[in-house]
Structure formats: structure tokens, C-alpha cells
Amino acid sequence: MADRHVDVLAKFWPVLSLILGLAVIVALAQLGPISIERMVIKALIMMIVVIGLYTFIGNSGLLSFGHSTFMVVSAYMSAWLTMPVIRKKIMLPDIWSGFGQMEMHVLPGALLAGLLSAFLALIVGIPLMRLSGIVAAIGTFAVFTIVTVVYNQWDSYTKGASTLIGLPTYVDLWTAFGFVAGALVIAHLYDQSKFGLSLRASRDDLVAAKAAGVNVVRQRLIAFVISAFITGIGGVLYVHFTATITQANLLYLNLTFITIVMLMVGGMRSLFGAVAGVVAISIVTEGLRAAEKPVGVSGLGELGLAVFMLVILAIRPSGIAGGKDIPLPAFLRRRG
């Protein structure tokens, strides 16, 4: 009986250890000043997006430049569902009355918004998942462009190029942590499932996997949908943290780049890598920002960050985590 407990613990160790580690960080951040708290919340939200990216990119070996689509789509959906009715009357007077009179609780709002992204991923994924490598990346990017152009023009629902303000803010440290934990569990369960295994098999050897009966397109599609759901929720939290949605200044395109770099720096072949990349880049970003103040030249921090990314990619091409999970402690190892 005890052995079985140990087995289950060992199976979930990669995700448990990450959750415990993050819990410590969050608890410590709570003691710190508000600026640290906000920085950690932001990093946790980015982490959800990167976990979403990992679920698809890490397991399939395909690249996606289009995951910000899911952030945008879910963010607006959540705004339509959860903004206070009075605010909606002012900001979006011409919205469909169903949305206009609705004031959903934020949690089902976030989940529904995530589901919308999952659904979108299913529709666009059916054709896209047949493509390979860099072509798939451009395909997802095309979807991103189409969706953002349409949302930018859709004034009555999105305020177009200007900013939609007045979203309910509910993302504090532990909320963000809770969502990260949820994302980690989903991603890990998928990793361990036969679907995750089949997809990784197709990543490592496409021809052999096909010969062994793996339906590659279907497996990619499953990962794409799950990953869209997670990323979409990340997008929801992002806008409910800042209380605003804007598409100005290439915000979502830049988010695409930075999250991909985070995943590569951490290591795209393990969940630990996804988490480590976000933690490393966030710490370096904030550290450099603090360090550039006494020097008095703003902008040095960003340059330092770019150099840091290049150095990591050069000396550790498989990322900080190197494709591994946090090693199992001795008391969980199977004896004999």
C-alpha cells in the first residue's frame, strides 16, 4: 500500500516539485514590497502562456508564431462575459445584448474564454497540423494576423485600436499561482498520457512513429487544442491583471517573441524548462532594470537581457533544464 503511494508521488514528482518551488517563491513575494509582488504576478501569468506553448512546441517539435491569437481571443471573450454591465454600456454600447446584460463570475468566464480558444485551435488546427516545421509556424502566424486585423477593426466589440478599460481585476499572487498550478497539472497529465507519448514519438522520428501506427495529425491537433486552452487562460489573466486590453504597440507580437525565447532559454523539452525559462528571464530582466537605475542610462537592461539570452543559447542549446525534470529525491526512488 505504502509502495503505491510512493509510486503515485514519484509519477507526479515533476509537477509537484515545481508547484512546491513556486509556492515558496510566492510566499516570499508576499512579504516583499508591492513592486516585487506585481513582478511575480506578471511572471506567473507569463508562465501560464509558456506552459501552453511548451505543451504544443515541446511535444510536437513544431513551432508556433500564432499562440498570441489565443491570448487575444480569450482576453476579449472574458471581457465580454465578465465586465460590469454599467461599464459595458459606456465602453461597448453596441455589443450584442446577450453580452451586454451579462455579468458572469470571473472563474467560469475565464474557463469559457479558454474553451473558445480551444475551439478556435480545433478549427484552424485541422488544416494546419498537416504542415511541417517552419511552414506550420508561418501558418499559425497567418492565423494570428487575420484574427488581430479583424479584432482591430471590430470597434463595437473591441474598441478597435484604442484601449478597452475597466475589466474586473482579480489576479493576485495566489490566484495567479493557482492557475499556474492548474496549467502545470494539465500539461503534466497530457505529457504522461498515451497521446503525449505518441506525439513525442512523432517528434523524435516521424517516419517510425507513422509506421508504428501513430496518427500524427490527430496527435498534434490534441496538443494544439490543449495548448490553446492554457495559453488562452494566460491571456485572460494578463488583461484582468492590468484591467485593460490593448493591441497597440505590437503588444501581442512582442509577447509571442518573448515567450518563445523564454521557452528556448529554459529548455523546450521539459515542463521544468518552461518554468525555469520564465523564472530566469524574469529575474534577469528585473535585476538589470534595478541595476541600470544608478547608472542612469535607461535601456541598458534590455541590451543585457538580449546578451543573456544569446549566451544561454550558445552555451546550453538544450536550455537551462536541458530537457530534464527536477530529479526524484532519494526517498521516492524505487528500491531494489
Binding site: L63, F141, V149, V261, M264, S298
Partner: protein
């Protein structure tokens, strides 16, 4: 007449895109790097021209092109050479980092506001002939792109290093064993991509008259699409892809009613998406890129 007007517009926009696509396609062919920092070479060239705007125009233009070439060669030496054997995804992430560096470097020195400049006033003239009004810049763009493309194909066909370059893009390991100096070849390819970016910079700056740290991004993305549509790894494909996207843009701009015009970008990418779904290998398929079993 209206047709001729459109044709000139399309050829000039297409020429610009073809130049950018060639720069990206050349590097991809040799080292499987999708260089997202290509547009930032153009941006650096534009800023150099902005700073040299007070000089006589040949100095301004030459200065911009030289800076673009220098930046290209330096990024290769410092950022991409240590990663030569890395996975294409890692190379791509590295080029994001390079792009991020260059943009923030300019942001730090010049600030983030758009700055106006008029490098060669003569380019802004229009030649009016009957009902036609042709901008000198458009003619200049067409000529420039044709000359550079011709020059590049001569270079690749006739010179020793050009032939080495083609060999390396077929099979780098084999080429190295046969005595091709890969470092020199790759550095030359980057210099050429810098030259192409510098030439594109003249056109872009002549057209918009504005410099911005993020100005290179759109061209990078369009060129990237052009390369994929044309067929990755084929330079002819990159040129065809560039013209195809440019022509599509001008035709849609001319035909669409005003209401739909804001959606032009979305339509272009819809066409690209459909194209990729039906012909994922691009217009020209390259045998060297097919995975062997």
C-alpha cells in the same frame, strides 16, 4: 493606362519585397537560420542615413548601406557563428534576441519617437505623362531591385565564392570536406544580406520618410512569408514569392472597396494560408530540404 499605373506600383512593391526575401532566403539556404533580425539591418541602415542626412546624398546612401552590411557581419560573427551547428529553432530564437538587442540599442540612443527625414528629395518627384503619374522612387525601386538581383545571380554563378556558397547551401558538411571555407562563405552571405537590407532601406526611407526602432518588423514578416510561399531554400522562389506578395498587395489595394480596405492585411494572409495548405512546399520545391529516410 490605369493598368500601367498598377503594374509599376506592383513591380516596385514586389521589388522591395523580393529584395528583403532574398536577404532572408540566402541566409536560410546556407545555415537554416530564419533571420528575424533582417528587418533590423534595414532599420539600422535607415538610422545611419538619418544621421548622415546633412551630407550630400551619395554619402548618405552609401553610409546607410555600409552600416547595414557591417551590422550584418558583426551579428554573424558574435551571435550566430557560435550557434552554427544548433537546431534551427534555437537559431531562430537567437535571431529574436539579436533583433531585440538592435531595436533596444537604437531606442537607447535615439529614443522611440518617429523621426522625419528626406534623404534624396529627387526621389519624391513625379513624372506626369498623359494620365499617368509615376513617382521617381517607384522607377528607382524597380531598377535597383533588378540590378541587385542580376548582380547576385551573376555572383552566384560566376565567382568562386558564389559557387562555394551554392555548394554550401546544398550540403554544408560535404562542401566543407571538399575544401569550401564555410566561415568565409557564411560571412559573405551575411554581408550580401546586409547589402540587400541597405538597398531596401533606401526605398523604405524614401517612401515613408520616417525612422522608428520597430520599422523593420513588417518587412521581415512579409519577406518571411514571401520566402515560404516561394519555396524555402530556393532564391528564385524567394524572388517569385516577393513579387507575388507585392502584386497581391497592390491588386487588393486597387480592387477592394474602401470598406474592406482595412482588412487588406488579413486578406493577404488568408491567401497565403490557403496557398500553404494546398502547396506546403512553396512554388519551387527544393530537394535538399526533403528529409531522407
Amino acid at each position: 493606362m490605369i493598368f500601367l499605373q498598377y503594374a509599376i506600383d506592383a513591380l516596385s512593391v514586389g521589388g522591395l519585397y523580393a529584395l528583403a526575401a532574398l536577404g532572408i532566403g540566402l541566409i536560410f539556404g546556407i545555415m537554416r537560420l530564419v533571420n528575424f533580425a533582417h528587418g533590423d539591418l534595414l532599420m539600422m541602415g535607415c538610422y545611419a542615413m538619418f544621421m548622415l542626412a546633412a551630407a550630400i546624398w551619395p554619402v548618405t546612401i552609401l553610409g546607410g548601406v555600409v552600416i547595414a552590411i557591417l551590422v550584418a557581419v558583426i551579428t554573424e560573427r558574435i551571435a550566430f557563428r557560435p550557434l552554427r551547428s544548433a537546431d534551427p529553432t534555437i537559431l531562430l530564437a537567437a535571431s529574436f534576441a539579436v533583433s531585440f538587442f538592435l531595436q533596444n540599442f537604437v531606442l537607447m540612443i535615439m529614443g522611440g519617437r518617429a523621426l522625419g527625414v528626406d534623404i534624396v528629395p529627387a526621389l519624391n518627384q513625379h513624372i506626369v505623362w498623359d494620365s499617368l503619374s509615376i513617382s521617381v522612387l517607384n522607377l528607382f525601386t524597380i531598377a535597383l531591385s533588378v540590378i541587385l538581383m542580376g548582380g547576385l545571380s551573376l555572383f552566384l554563378a560566376r565567382t568562386r565564392i558564389g559557387i562555394h556558397m551554392r555548394a554550401a547551401s546544398e550540403d554544408v558538411r560535404m562542401a566543407r570536406m571538399l575544401g569550401v571555407r564555410v566561415n568565409l562563405v557564411v560571412a559573405t552571405a551575411f554581408a550580401i544580406s546586409g547589402l540587400l537590407a541597405g538597398a531596401a532601406a533606401i526605398v523604405v526611407l524614401g517612401k515613408t520618410g520616417l525612422v522608428l526602432p520597430t520599422m523593420g518588423l513588417r518587412l521581415t514578416l512579409i519577406a518571411f512569408v514571401a520566402v515560404i510561399v516561394g519555396g524555402m531554400g530556393s532564391l528564385t522562389g524567394a524572388v517569385i514569392g516577393g513579387y507575388a506578395v507585392g502584386i497581391l498587395e497592390v491588386v487588393l489595394g486597387g480592387l477592394l472597396p474602401l470598406v474592406i480596405l482595412p482588412y487588406r492585411e488579413a486578406l493577404i494572409f488568408t491567401v497565403v494560408l490557403l496557398f500553404l495548405l494546398f502547396r506546403p512546399g512553396g512554388i519551387i520545391r527544393v530537394a535538399a530540404l526533403k528529409e531522407r529516410v
